[in-house]
């Protein structure tokens, strides 16, 4: 039999290029694989056990060998055995899985934050330094990265198989996931939640770089403005600074250092100010009125894009004093500037 050498070579190359197991490129991956192999071995043992029982009984008690069946009612002991052992195994799977789940979805405090915006059908990544990427994400190795993600339209899902992480990207709400890449290289990024026509084109490349390379990359690809700087511009152009000026008589509360603090709201509840809270407070201000202030802030629902919101959130995160806010305000007022670009009436 002669197989054409060309075909043979093609087959060999094809098989070599194909994958059977994903590479382990994050700190979480070995943990995930350990659980995977544990579950896999339970499955194999279970299937082998059932197959052995079927085969052995089929051979030993086939009609030719065992012409008359012996009627057995059952055995409580045996049944208890195969109730309790699987139950025990499943409970181990539960505890193990739960530990891993909490690990993947609770980012460490020292992690670096990158924002992800999903929309039909592309991923936008926004680094704090202002680097924007489409369908790509550059990350340093050896550094925990937290992704704060939101969707502009439908459900998407951000999945990096080589890092063993995945998280739904939800419209109207931030979701987070974190990872720490270990091996430099390029990895797949998939949208795994069906999101319409070009769902399968909503893919990208994750590039893990050594810290030095990453530094080089950030310098090369900077847009000149950090997210916080963009946010500052937006803050001024939307006229936010008119009320949130930090003056004693200001109509809105001072926002310097508000991130991470605990606020008391007019409805008596206490909230921790985080990304989600800031975003919500901009979009639905009257449900988040700080105690002592009147609900006069208009809603910005539909007027600021998710990117804009991210800029504002990032700006507020880094806002430690009101000095620049007041400076900008004075400049604007003295120039009697035209109404803000977005046309939002000041309250």
């Amino acid at each position: 039999m002669g197989i054409s050498p060309v075909l043979w070579q093609f087959l060999v190359k094809w098989l070599n290029a194909s994958a059977l197991f994903p590479s382990e490129a994050s700190t979480i991956a070995p943990y995930m694989d350990a659980l995977y192999f544990f579950l896999l071995s339970i499955t194999l043992i279970g299937v082998l056990l059932v197959a052995t029982l079927l085969v052995v009984f089929s051979v030993r008690y086939r009609k030719a060998v065992h012409p008359v069946a012996t009627q057995i009612e059952g055995s409580t002991l045996l049944e208890a055995t195969w109730t309790i052992i699987p139950l025990g195994l499943f409970l181990i799977c539960f505890v193990w899985g739960a530990l891993l789940y909490f690990r993947i979805y609770n980012p460490p405090v020292n992690s670096m934050n990158i924002y992800i915006v999903g929309k039909q059908w592309m991923w936008k990544a926004e680094h704090p330094g202002g680097q924007h990427e489409i369908n790509a994400l550059h990350v340093p190795t050896g550094q925990p990265i937290q992704l704060t993600m939101i969707s502009q339209d439908v459900f998407h899902s951000f999945s990096i198989p080589a890092f063993r992480i995945k998280r739904e990207v939800i419209p109207g709400r931030y979701s987070t996931v974190w990872f720490e890449a270990t091996t430099p290289g390029q990895y797949h990024l998939f949208c795994t939640q069906y999101c319409g026509t070009n769902h399968s084109a909503m893919i990208g490349t994750i590039t893990a770089l050594s810290p030095a390379d990453y530094k080089k990359w950030t310098e090369q690809s900077t847009s000149g403005m950090s997210l916080a700087q963009n946010g500052e511009r937006l803050f001024a152009s939307m006229g936010c600074n008119a009320c949130h000026s930090g003056n004693a008589a200001a109509r809105g509360p001072s926002l310097a250092g508000v991130y991470g603090s605990t606020l008391r709201l007019t409805n008596g509840s206490q909230v921790l100010v985080n990304d989600a809270y800031l975003r919500d407070a901009i979009l639905n201000p009257s449900q988040h009125v700080t105690s002592g202030y009147t609900p006069i802030m208009p809603t910005y629902q539909g007027q600021i894009s998710e990117d804009g919101l991210i800029d504002l959130v990032e700006y507020l995160k880094n806002l430690n004093s009101n000095e620049r806010v007041q400076q900008t305000l004075t400049t604007t007022q003295s120039e009697q500037a035209a109404p803000p670009a977005s046309g939002v009436a000041k309250p």
Binding site: N284, S286, T299
Partner: protein
């Protein structure tokens, strides 16, 4: 579920049966007795009502969730509904249910004229309920409170312009009144749809009752329809406080 039974007489004579069937025209061949058929019928009806509970259950949950999320909007929107209309509708529906119960009784004691009269009253009160519902819906239509493209929340943002003494709502909260109105229309609309189907069935039952179908000992259709009609009542018994009443005295912040 069952007490163990004595082993029934295994060897019995096939010929023994025929005379034991009490034969009535509505008795279907696959039931051993009419009693068995009747109980099967009412059990089947109850199972159907279980599906109805779960059907409304989804809406009730949505109401519970969004009332907690958008409390202020729900309070403001709910206070737009008229308690007198809602309360009289409740009374009307209870009356309709009362006549339905009486109709079941009339069928049981085989009084044809009474049965027909009670069914007519049941229908009339059902129609009265729908009439009042129409008045309420119409008012919402005129105020542009029907959710959708034409929805207008300005009455909640600026109540004084409409001559109302309510506290004004910030625009973002006011928009959420749409959620209340949607749930209001979905729940009362689904309820009204059940009423309309019920009235259709009532007309059919009336025609048959007039023919004397149900006053010869065969009361299952009347009985089962009664179960349906009372279930529709029960849904309203919950809708009335949830939509009209419980938001009258909002908790102060």
């Amino acid at each position: 579920m069952d007490s163990a039974i004595a082993n029934p007489q295994a060897d019995h004579d096939a010929a023994e049966h025929e005379h034991e069937h009490v034969f009535v025209p509505q008795h279907r061949h696959h039931f051993a007795t009419e009693e068995q058929q009747r109980e099967a019928g009412s059990f089947g009806m109850w199972l159907f009502l279980l599906t109805e509970i779960m059907f409304f259950g989804g809406l009730f949950f949505a109401y519970l969730l969004y009332r907690n999320w958008y409390y202020d909007a729900f309070v403001a929107a709910s206070n737009q509904l008229s308690i007198p209309l809602g309360a009289s509708n409740t009374a009307i529906l209870i009356t309709s249910g009362f006549f339905m119960a009486l109709a079941v009784w009339a069928a049981e004691v085989r009084k044809k004229a009474l049965l027909v009269v009670f069914l007519i009253f049941t229908t009339l009160f059902g129609l009265a309920f729908l009439g009042i519902k129409y008045v309420e819906y119409h008012e919402k239509w005129e105020k542009h409170h029907i959710p959708g493209a034409s929805f207008d929340a300005s009455e909640f943002i600026n109540p004084s312009a409409y001559g109302l003494k309510e506290n004004p709502l910030p625009p973002d909260v006011a928009q959420k009144t749409q959620m209340f109105f949607f749930l209001y229309f979905a729940m009362t609309g689904m309820h009204a749809l059940h009423m309309i189907i019920g009235i259709g069935l009532l007309v059919w039952l009336l025609a048959r009752a007039q023919r004397g179908d149900f006053t010869q000992g065969y009361v299952a259709p009347i009985e089962n329809f009664g179960l349906y009609w009372h279930f529709v009542d029960i849904v309203w018994l919950y809708l009335f406080p949830l939509l009209y009443l419980i938001n009258r005295h909002p908790l102060a912040h």
